[in-house]
């Protein structure tokens, strides 16, 4: 079994093991979940280390025949585009599991679904066969449904089913697109690399239809305007750990899919769609930021800021240049770290105060310096402060796109301003000003929460100061991919 298969299987074993443990042995279940997620993280870390940065093609490839009737293979591999995302998934899942030790009801089910979710997410990033990709893609859906629906907030059931239906609709359209590609390849295949080679030979109209079908599937996950409305709801209702995964990993599946497949395989359609894509990216940026500004709920604000940030990512993609794509990939990773940690931080205050209303707080910085400090660092990272991770990705996205779409980019910068405005306003209302004595009894951030959050903060700073750490992996592959498309 290759390393990648091991990575995908480890959490699955953990999930099955948890299923076998009696539900009353909560400590054991938590332990198993932690151990297996940690193992996965170790393996992904090893993958990160063992990954050859100079090779632009797929590495750690494993190909086994699965369903020969449809020429479907179990085919996995990673390149610079996916390797960091795999590691990110491993990291965020483990941290989210650590954070989720505060879940008190139905612990067994929770961690079972959580590890199953990890299997799906890892699978999406390593799959090289489109059928396999689709299976993993859908595999993330069901655990997410239950995680939101059972452990979520007041409107959890609505949020869960909405998320499910929304994304399912997209993915089924994607399935049709995949099938169309399959039947137009010769010999029929689901092999992504092969389809990428053959896709460009399709007639333009066909490419456009297929692109559209795939795009809807991906766009719903990203989420791109106007398919984003499931996101605020799902993020807000989901329990903290799940919001982290949702924002940190699952949104990236959409952009990853487009970069991995749609753009390289359907160049004509890409060209045709580009003007729309850039407009959507700009709308995401500006509109997401403005929507976030209107929020009174801390979590919803962070959720809408994700719409805005994924807009940057799409902007970078539309550049169709090495600069922009580097930015887009880096933005995926940094958004995972930053927004993930922001959701953790929002969770910390919600666990204590049982409210997320921005106006309900005030002056917390005086009483909770550590919490305030972490929050301010991550907020600054989120609004793109240089020196922290958010900036480099964002800057490269803008820089890349500027070459092609200068005026759109100029409009898009408004998003930066608005993001700064609403985040600073939030800080002002929550942390600054006179201390609201109502919260005098609350405690500052605890050890378990620190364990979950501090690694993300550290990584935010490290990537911000030394982006090479990430970009070295990404750049060669991206340069190669972009060169290939052009």
């Amino acid at each position: 079994m290759s390393l990648l298969s091991l990575i995908v299987v480890t959490p699955l074993i953990g999930a099955l093991l948890i299923l076998a443990i009696p539900g009353t042995r909560t400590k054991l279940i938590q332990g198993v979940a932690l151990v297996f997620s940690a193992l996965t993280l170790l393996l992904t870390g090893y993958l990160y280390a063992a990954f050859d940065k100079t090779v632009v093609l797929m590495q750690f490839v494993e190909k086994l025949s699965w369903i020969p009737a449809f020429n479907i293979n179990y085919c996995v591999g990673v390149d610079g585009l996916s390797v960091a995302l795999v590691t990110l998934t491993g990291l965020l899942t483990m941290l989210a599991i650590i954070y989720s030790f505060n879940i008190t009801v139905r612990i067994k089910e929770f961690f079972f679904w959580f590890l199953l979710l990890e299997v799906g997410m890892l699978g999406v990033f390593v799959a090289l066969d489109f059928f396999l990709f689709y299976v993993f893609w859908e595999l993330t859906l069901v655990p997410m449904y239950f995680l939101i629906g059972v452990w979520g907030g007041p409107k959890k059931e609505y949020a869960a089913i909405k998320f499910f239906l929304f994304t399912l609709f997209g993915s089924l359209l994607m399935l049709l697109g995949i099938l169309a590609l399959y039947f137009n390849s010769m010999p029929h295949t689901f092999d992504m690399m092969e389809l990428i080679k053959q896709g460009s030979l399709l007639p333009r109209a066909m490419q456009i239809w297929i692109f559209l079908a795939l795009y809807v599937g991906f766009a719903i996950k990203i989420p791109a305007f106007p398919f984003h409305t499931w996101l605020p709801l799902a993020h807000v209702e989901a329990p903290t750990g799940v919001s982290v995964i949702l924002a940190g990993v699952m949104l990236k599946m959409g952009t990853y899919g487009i970069m991995r497949f749609s753009f390289p395989a359907l160049p004509e359609a890409t060209k045709w769609f580009m003007p729309f894509l850039i407009v959507i990216a700009i709308i995401n940026i500006v509109y997401g930021a403005f929507c976030a500004m209107a929020q009174k709920d801390l979590k919803k604000m962070v959720a809408y800021s994700s719409v805005n940030h994924m807009g940057y990512c799409m902007l970078g993609m539309t550049a169709m240049s090495g600069i922009g794509w580097n930015g887009a990939v880096l933005q995926m990773i940094t958004h995972g770290l930053i927004t993930g940690s922001l959701f953790f931080l929002v969770g910390v205050i919600y666990d204590r105060a049982h409210t997320r209303d921005i106006d309900a707080f005030g002056g917390l910085a005086a009483k909770f310096p550590v919490y305030a400090g972490l929050m301010i660092i991550q907020v600054m990272a989120s609004l793109g402060l240089p020196g922290l991770a958010g900036f480099v990705g964002e800057f490269l996205c803008f820089l890349g796109a500027f070459n092609v779409w200068p005026y759109y980019v100029a409009v898009g910068t408004i998003g930066i301003l608005v993001t700064a405005a609403f985040f600073l306003r939030m800080i002002e209302k929550v942390f600054l000003g006179p201390f609201n004595e109502k919260w005098a009894a609350l405690k500052d951030i605890g050890f378990r929460e620190m364990v979950a959050i501090v690694p993300l903060v550290l990584l935010t700073v490290i990537i911000g100061v030394w982006p090479k750490f990430c970009l070295d992996l990404i750049d060669p592959t991206i340069t190669y991919l972009v060169g290939m498309i052009k």
Partner: protein, 645 residues
Amino acid sequence: MLEYVYILPLLSFAVAGLILAFGRWLPLKGASAGILVAAWGFSQGLMLFVKAIQGTITLPYEMSIPWFSFGGNQATLGVYVDGLTIAMLIVVTAVSLLVQIYSTGYMHGDPRFKRFYCYLSLFTASMLGVTLTNNMMVFFMCWELVGVCSYLLIGFWFEKQSAAYAGKKAFITTKLGDLGFLVGLMVLFYATGTFEISKIQELAHAGMIPAAAAGAAGILMFLGAAGKSAQFPLFIWLPDAMEGPSPVSALIHAATMVAAGVYMVARLYAVYALSPIAMDTVAWTGAITAFMAASLALTCFDLKRVLAFSTVSQLGYMMMALGVGGFTAGMFHLTTHAYFKALLFLAAGSVIHAVHTNDMREMGGLRHKMPITYITFLLGTLALCGIPPFAGYFSKDEVLAAALARNPVLFAIGAMAAAMTAFYMARALVMTFHGKPKDAHKHDHAHESPAVMTGPLILLGAVSVVSGFVLTRHEMFEHLVNFEGALPFELHHVNHSAVALFSSIVAALSMSLGVWLYKARPDIPAACRETFSPIVNMLEKRYWLDAFFLKLVDIGDSLSRFMFSFDFNFLDQIAIDGWAWLTLKLSKIQGWLDDHVVDAALNATGTITMSAGRMARLAQTGLVQNYLLFVAIAVSIFAAIAFAG
């Protein structure tokens, strides 16, 4: 020597972390570490300066390491040192050092003393980064970082709502300008293919950058400078920034950070020089700012705000100088201004420390209580007003001369601003230190500040007196800071001495007028306030610029509320859930059909006939069809299909 200059910002960064982590175990809660590093930095700067003057080091010096690569481009991390850098380096380290020493007294006993020094170190590090970097991308990073430090320090006493607000206002206003900077940077990148300053300069000197691109980049980046250096119309944040502790005002909002915009224009002067439009924009914005801010200071009663407006006005001078081609003049004014304005702020801080108010109407007669503060403030005032032989005289003189050389209108505006400067400074001096104490209680409790605070004041006072004179000896400053193709420092074709004489006389007259009015006839200014109330009102409203920006914020807020309501009410609830709703409705219809069809099931068979009347009656009872009828209909349709095709 030069090889190790990169250590300066790194060390400062490290010290910031050190203070945050271990401050409580260090002497003076970590202040000592910050001061030591600043002192070392200052000594390094001074040595560099001396060596540069002596010519024992070759400039410009550049070194860099690869930072990261992106899509075939390489970003580097490194330092670029030329005369301009050294001049700025000395300003930053000197003021930082003195302010840190001063703050041990000023901030004594503050519960967040440690954090204050952490922020100061962080700021110093970032500012050194701005000064030393060889790369516009890193420049922008540090540029933003100083903004954050400014945000944190303005809002240092964040329990005060106004302080928290002012911090946010400063950050967002400068961020607005930074959008321009960002876009300008991108224009510059695509015009030159690099972020490296030396390469950009080379290309600019070789004329390889198209004038249009240079102009666009220049103007866009100047927006950023306008935000940072508080130029019209973005200067609105600076007066509010006075909510921060006075040492912060002295360091950040008088001497260094606000000068970063000027420094940026100077740094990319080669690019600006390619585009007359960009130059004119800089010059005119500077002139307008100088005039407007000076006029605003006339009616202000808050001591620190008077100084803040004065700072804005002086920054306008510098910009104007750069815009008209007075490269060296502008930078020289930056240097001298940094010292005397820091001095004024620290002295004002000393006063505020003593009387616990900013309002000049509650001061008065303090010169006996606080002699050192008074003397040093007086020296700073004279320097600022441009009275010979103080520092300001030399630099302001050069600025005006440069303006006259290029455009008499600019000169006239500058001269008027100079007159107003002298007047409001005289007003501030008199209201604070002369006359009778207006608030006896505060006056009684006032006392001279401790030595750690007066020490820096005295030092800065000395510098304010001599720096102008010293630095112009043997063309020392010009030798260090110059730009080929800009106006020479000593302008020979205009009557230099005439300009100097004229400006000195104007300043002296105007100052005397101020002193006389506020000391002997305070009733006249009061009467003037009455008489010219519309103008006073306009000035107190700051030309309605604040209102304008607040309106913008309001519009943004409404827009955001509108968009969210669109998002939620339309997009989510109607366009998306609407589909679900429609589906459910459809299924209800279907369910209704089944209810009433299968519900009646065979029941309906008895009542259905083929007659239309019967159908109508059925319609009235709600029983339209039944399932056997469906079969029959299907059968008929099938038959029809068979015969049709």
